[in-house]
């Protein structure tokens, strides 16, 4: 199932440089459904993932430590202090429009915060949450 991600990214890259958040979400949903055909992405589980304090890294315990408590309002990098624009596509049209960028930051940030990669299920839940907002 990991092999699907490059395929999806390749597909997006060929069909269009820019994808919509819904297309990117659909990609992760389809991948999650391979393990569980009845899978439906959940904003509630996404919100938990967004705010949960994993305790893997003392400096950056949760996604919200950099992205802010409200994905529609943005935050600032816990170490460098740099302002980070909102993750919610409703507040920031650049979000979830480039599949390779999305995948890269999931890998990087899940690695820092959870100490492992996020599953397709977690990514779909996460995007469902930030698209709904709050």
């Amino acid at each position: 199932m990991k092999a699907l991600i490059p395929v999806l990214i390749g597909l997006f890259a060929v069909t269009a440089q820019a994808a919509t958040p819904n297309e990117i979400l659909a990609g992760y949903r389809a991948e999650a459904a391979k393990n569980n055909p009845r899978y439906q992405s959940s904003a509630e589980l996404g919100a938990q993932l967004y705010r949960h304090s994993f305790g893997v890294s003392a400096k950056m315990p949760s996604c919200s430590s950099c992205h802010g408590d409200d994905p529609a309002r943005g935050g600032s990098h816990v170490v460098t202090g740099k302002a980070i624009q909102p993750l919610a596509p409703a507040a920031n049209a650049e979000r979830f429009s480039d599949p390779a960028k999305v995948e890269k930051w999931f890998r990087r940030n899940c690695g820092e915060v959870l100490g492992r990669e996020c599953s397709a299920t977690e990514k779909a839940d996460f995007i469902t949450f930030v698209m709904r907002g709050r």
Partner: protein, 164 residues
């Protein structure tokens, strides 16, 4: 063609000739990934603020980047390194480089030049909640993203303008 068109090139030549400490605009020719990668977690730092050798050390250890992982694919890494090295600062101007912790890559906030420019800044400001790190140039230099560090653009944390 009007006067502005004729004057613009002259004006930019003038700007180049009078390049000074408060003008740290990025030199032309940056690979696109320089902004998108090196400008994602912090400001895309001006190449002139570290010497070539120090940039090579930064770019050689991106997987252990001041406690973070900033690794890149090899072609991108090499393109960015070439840009940084080509536009690096002069050792004579920057003075001895330094690190904040043993084993770390050199920091542009630890050069003699940076310390001299900021010796009047009260130390408490560097740890202020709105600043967090001396490398957060934009917390005080409001036009840092466009490479301008003029004194009248400085707003200290808490909202006070800087006066000598």
């Amino acid at each position: 063609m009007n006067a502005a068109h004729l004057l613009a090139p002259l004006f930019s030549m003038f700007m180049v000739c009078t390049a000074q400490a408060d003008d740290l605009r990025l030199p032309a020719g940056a690979p696109p990934a320089f902004q998108s990668e090196c400008g994602a977690c912090h400001l895309a730092f001006p190449p002139r603020l570290l010497v070539a050798e120090d940039w090579r050390r930064v770019m050689a250890g991106l997987d252990r980047h001041y406690g973070d992982n900033a690794s890149l694919d090899e072609p991108t890494r090499r393109a960015i390194e070439a840009y940084l090295v080509e536009n690096a600062g002069k050792p004579k101007k920057l003075g001895p480089s330094g690190t904040a912790a043993p084993g770390e890559a050199p920091r542009l906030t630890a050069t003699a030049w940076f310390k001299r420019k900021h010796h009047e800044v009260p130390p408490a400001y560097w740890r202020h909640a709105e600043v967090r790190s001396p490398a957060n140039c934009a917390a005080c230099h409001k036009q840092a993203a466009s490479g301008s560090y003029r004194e009248r653009e400085i707003v200290m944390p808490g909202g006070r303008r800087w006066q000598d």
